[in-house]
Symmetry: C2
Subunit: 208 residues, 2 copies
DNA sequence: GTCTATAGAAGGATAGAC
DNA sequence: GTCTATCCTTCTATAGAC
């Protein structure tokens, strides 16, 4: 009733896949959550569970990128932007009892060696994220190679710390990873600044 | 080829869970892989699939820690040790067509919000890894807080880059994450060398 | 496009003979 | 401890009425 059936199916699938994974979520559970019928699912997604899952991966992947970008852009500079992303993620984890982290990570690991169609979908999403983060770093003058390495590392720190945080029900890994991400970006920027105008850092990088 | 039925069940479960996840692996598939019967599984593991999975998580978690420790210890110093771990992981990924990464990551995400018994098992394993890596860093004179933060970050970089690498079938994320991990450790050591005091005071980077 | 009903396979788990 | 046979549930997917 609130929205159209197709959208409800995607939303329900997104929530359950993120929480329980792909194999752990039955179609019937999705239908119940979406208040929809079998016929509706196979009408909107003739490819069945796989087609719905691909749609969920691509739409939630793009939505999450937008969310992160919004948080990032609200900060005054790149370093604070990265810091905000990790702080925001930690806050969401705590607020949702460590249920709500990356929308596609669980599915990505599940399908990596078992479902080529969905594997490619997750690869596309991660690829977009890497390109987006790389752009953030090149925009502040970091070279392409370094920017891409930083982007991959920041995303890896985020994803890896999500695993540790959800397993241990503790935000410490996210905060630790966030600090390392911040240090990596700051270090790269300072090395960049030393090339143009030599000025040593006024305080040590690692103080905590 | 283990002759013990119980061991064959654990090995088969380990391989299939790592590759397909927990929910995606049926008991019948494990029995077929292990050349065992239903009665054998429920004889050795009265708790059924959950009990087998917990055993798999704890044993493969400990085994992986030993493997990483062996690679790490073979290097001449901490920085080269960390570098070797990431290089070794990338080599294994390539050699196994991106199937063989972390033995428990997929299951950890699957069960984090759905199976408390298995969630605790994965948390225990990750906790042991963090303690082990922390010890490596304190052994070279890094303070407890910094060492733990580095340990959490290195493990997060490893786990996160595994997700990206398996999804994209490319080792680039692992090599990028490895470089960031190496830089973080090296930077901490250099900052340590610049200090006269053996233990720097713990203080957040961004006050307020 | 939505409803009910059901097929056909696979899921986890158990019983009883030996 | 191992074997065969089986129970009941859940799974994905389809059929056919409306």
């Amino acid at each position: 009733m609130p929205t159209d059936t197709r959208e409800r199916l995607v939303d329900a699938g997104a929530e359950l896949f993120r929480l329980q994974g792909f194999a752990g979520t039955g179609i019937k559970a999705i239908l119940a959550e979406a208040h929809a019928q079998f016929s509706s699912l196979y009408h909107h997604f003739p490819g069945g569970k796989d087609e719905l899952a691909e749609e969920v991966i691509r739409t939630t992947g793009a939505a999450y990128q937008e969310l992160v970008k919004a948080v990032w852009d609200q900060a005054d500079d790149v370093v604070l932007g990265v810091e905000s992303v990790f702080e925001g993620a930690a806050a969401v984890l705590e607020a949702t009892d460590y249920a709500d982290a990356c929308p596609i990570a669980t599915v990505a690991l599940e399908v990596a060696s078992t479902n080529e169609r969905l594997r490619v979908a997750t690869a596309d999403v991660f690829g977009d994220w890497v390109l987006g983060a790389t752009l953030k770093f090149t925009e502040v003058g970091i070279g392409a190679g370094q920017a891409r390495r930083l982007a991959l590392s920041v995303i890896a720190l985020l994803e890896g710390s999500f695993i540790l945080a959800r397993a241990t029900k503790d935000t410490e890994p996210v905060r630790a990873a966030g600090q390392t991400a911040v240090d990596a970006v700051r270090l790269t920027l300072e090395a960049l600044g030393r090339r143009s105008r030599p000025e040593p850092p006024s305080r040590p990088l690692h103080a905590g």
